[in-house]
Amino acid sequence: MSVLTFTDRGIYCPAGDFFIDPWRPVSRALITHGHSDHARGGMGAYLATDLAAPVMRHRLGDIRLDTIVYGESRRIGGAQVSFHPAGHVPGSAQIRVEVGGEVWVVSGDYKVVDDGLSTPWEPVRCHAFISECTFGLPVFRWPSQEDIAADLNAWWSANAAAGRFSLLGAYSLGKAQRLLHMLDPAIAPILTHGAVEGTNEVLRAQGLPLPPTTRVVAGLDLKAQAGALVVCPPSALHSTWARKFGAASTAVASGWMALRGIRRRRGTDRGFIMSDHADWPGLNEAIGETGAHKVFVTHGYTAAFRRWLEEQGYDAGIVATDYAGDEVLAEGEAPADIIDEDAPE
């Protein structure tokens, strides 16, 4: 029997009778990270890393949640299970499942570069690797974080000098904090939308180094915040909420901004190329380092990426999943459908 099987409720381990990131209610769910397409409500019991737990409680409310630390090994039924850093967002994990000496790893979402906040990605040796491939085409190659930070702060400084607000749209868990961590607080004040600040509070409480931010609430004197940068969910950029900032300069940060057509259609002044998913070199490096011979690819350019892996000598397959979250592209759909469809918050 396979270590893991693919069902219409999610990835299942028969030996341990548990699911990984299921999209329908099950009795026992192991969760890679707190994004809402991976961590859904209604499960009988949850297991996640201690670092992911506060955000999951913040988002899912009163759930039965057990925690585990990176690298700790635990027996569940006939399976030996451990969680390992995935570098996607703070607390995110790959899940290693070993049954009868055979090791499978579910990547969840991941990136291989160190973002300074999330525990950096570690390769885990395995026989079979289930990898996301959101950006599984060779046109996706991310600039270094230092370069993005320099561009971002230059944009903000120029706006501040011109007396304009800078509105930066970013997913409120992960992307927003990564950006905050990259900002130079000496430029001007940093303001946050409530959805972003809610997550900030949770992450600050668990010791993440974030710069001071002010929540935008009714009655906040914006005149005293001249030149501020405002971090908000992308959906808020073109909302009535954003109007209070007047003729602000707007930007989003996303891997899709690598493509000029999408960047222009997004309708913001700037598009910073920054993703919490692995780029093409990252995916290839990560898969190589697992030593896996068998690779399953999921959400993203699955057909092309699988064919590429086959040509590189892997035994590759496609797994259909229901993950359609922060930056994920459902197969066959144009990116345009996704980037305007901001992730469920």
């Binding site: 060779p138 046109v139 190659r141 057509g261 700037r270 590429w308 759909e333 144009a334 345009a336 459908d337």
Partner: protein, 529 residues
């Protein structure tokens, strides 16, 4: 190339006109002359010709990147633009170049003269010396597909700001037949006079669309005439020679040899603005009759006989060698009348007749009759107005007749490119004929970006079959198609060809069995063809 890439990025990052002008003006104040000259040339559509095939570029880039061709094509499909795909898949540059734009364009020309192997190496070296955005622009130049969202008017404004020259002077100097290889920055903008080049046309004045005649204010301020459906042309008679320019600034003198005879009736130092029309039996032939003459550099006799042209003149820009563009329209028009009255019918010139009116209702009625007279609407010109540069609101209006319309169903879809990459924007439509669907036109425009996104999602879910880039879709989405004219066409399965087809409305309310039929199309053909 760095400065040019920075300029391009600034232009690309904003849709605000003033920000674009500021970016351009900054660049024109600081860049080297050779680069400025090339920038003006590129931004006014004077692109270097493509010297290397797209296939070669694709093969070289894929090989350099270590990627199979199928994966290159897969990526190209997602990116939508060849140059962008190439610049993205290539490994990061390992060298750095400080060479300016003009160097790279000269290099392009050099490379195209070399044998294949050296050319390939030269291109690979160039790609390896240029970081992302510069590499993208260089490849755009290579593929001859460089375009930028900057209008001529906008560039003129920026040049005027940067050089201190008046805008009309700049606009005039940019006109005509020049390239960075035949002129210099100083000669283009600063030396001598704009009219020293006797073939140089004046900038065309363009009209805005009129939404409602109430916008005109007092009817007595206005002159009305028919809006002719031909090719806008400027006929220059100077120093014993004639030159004919199209609005797109193509010199089309040789394509319309009939107009050479204008010299027999008009004095030198005359410049006319008008419409080139195929003309027979004292009325315009359809635009379709003119069509075969547009693409041909030389015209066979049979075509000269079947579609003879005249210039329907409607403005006088130069008389006795004097630029009279600042003279009010009423006066220019009077002088034009005097020049053209009593010409014999063999003269290839006609005077665009005025449309008489007293009230706005008279105008409304005249507009409704325009199609019967072979015109596509009315032109309204303020009697007191000078002849301007480019498109300027307020003095010249075009008031077109409502388009002909037909309800049809979408049967094929294809993705666009550039800004529309990844979106399905090019559609084929069909009408009913019994139980069959007969495709009869394509249309690309008329929907909002949001509607294109919606239809793209729909196409993805309802594709029946793929033929390369073309998707056959379930015949379910109904659109109201608008068009300006209809012609019999043996080349089309439906037997008709439309002029300016576009999507007027997405008829989500309309079921497919209520679309129009082939018979409706044939009735329209009988009435308007």
């Amino acid at each position: 190339m760095k400065d040019f890439a920075a300029l391009y990025a600034r232009l690309d990052q904003t849709t605000r006109t003033n920000a674009k002008i500021a970016a351009l003006a900054d660049y024109f104040r600081t860049a080297p002359d050779a680069d400025k000259l090339w920038t003006v040339a590129l931004f006014s559509g004077r692109r270097p010709r493509r010297t290397i095939t797209a296939t070669s570029l694709r093969d070289w880039a894929a090989e350099k990147a270590g990627l199979p061709l199928w994966l290159f094509e897969e990526s190209h499909g997602v990116v939508g633009d060849l140059s962008e795909t190439i610049s993205l898949i290539l490994p990061p540059a390992t060298r750095e170049s400080d060479q300016p734009l003009s160097y790279w364009i000269a290099r392009l020309k050099e490379l195209s003269a070399l044998p294949e192997a050296e050319r390939r190496q030269g291109i690979l070296d160039a790609w390896d010396s240029l970081p992302g955005p510069e590499r993208f622009l260089f490849t755009k130049l290579l593929t001859g597909s460089f375009r930028v969202g900057v209008s001529q008017t906008l560039m003129t404004k920026a040049l005027a700001q940067a050089t201190g020259l008046p805008e009309p002077e700049v606009a005039h100097r940019l006109m005509g037949d020049w390239s960075p290889e035949t002129t210099t920055w100083a000669r283009l903008l600063h030396e001598g006079e704009a009219r020293d080049d006797t073939a140089r046309p004046y900038p065309f004045y363009l009209a805005y669309q009129l939404d409602t005649p109430e916008d005109l204010g007092n009817p007595t301020d206005w002159f009305a005439e028919l809006k002719w459906d031909g090719i806008r042309g400027q006929l220059i008679l100077r120093e014993g020679r004639h030159h004919l320019w199209s609005r797109g600034e193509d010199l089309i003198t040789d394509r319309f040899p009939e107009l050479a005879r204008a010299i027999d009736w008009l004095p030198h130092g005359t410049v006319l603005d008008g419409e080139i029309l195929a003309w027979a039996d004292d009325r315009p032939m359809t635009f379709n009759a003119l069509q075969p003459r547009i693409g041909r550099k030389t015209v066979p006799k049979a075509l000269l006989a079947s579609a003879p042209v005249v210039l329907m003149a409607y403005d006088l820009l130069e008389q006795d060698g004097h630029d009279i563009r600042l003279t009010p329209f009423a006066e220019r028009r009077q002088r034009l009348d005097a020049l053209l009255t009593d010409l014999p019918p063999e003269a290839p010139l006609r005077l665009s007749p005025p449309v008489r009116f007293e009230t706005l209702d008279d105008l409304r009625a005249a507009r409704l009759r325009a199609r019967e007279e072979g015109a596509e609407g009315l032109m309204l010109k303020r009697l007191a107005s000078p002849y301007g540069n480019g498109r300027k609101k307020g003095d010249w209006w075009k008031w077109k007749v409502d388009p002909l319309t037909i309800d049809a169903v979408m049967v094929y879809a294809q993705a666009g490119s550039g800004r529309r990459a990844n979106l399905f924007t090019d559609f084929t439509f069909a009408v009913k004929h019994g139980n069959e669907l007969v495709p009869f036109t394509k249309a690309y425009s008329g929907l909002t970006d949001a509607e294109f996104r919606q239809i793209t999602a729909w196409v993805n879910k309802h594709t029946v079959q793929k033929f390369g880039p073309v998707r056959q879709v379930e015949p379910a989405q109904v659109f109201e198609i608008g068009f300006e004219g209809i012609q019999a066409s043996p080349r089309h399965k439906s037997g008709v060809a439309l002029r300016f087809p576009r999507m007027l409305r997405w008829r989500k309310d309309k079921p497919v069995d209520e679309i129009d039929t082939l018979d409706t199309l044939k009735d329209l053909l009988a009435a308007h063809g």
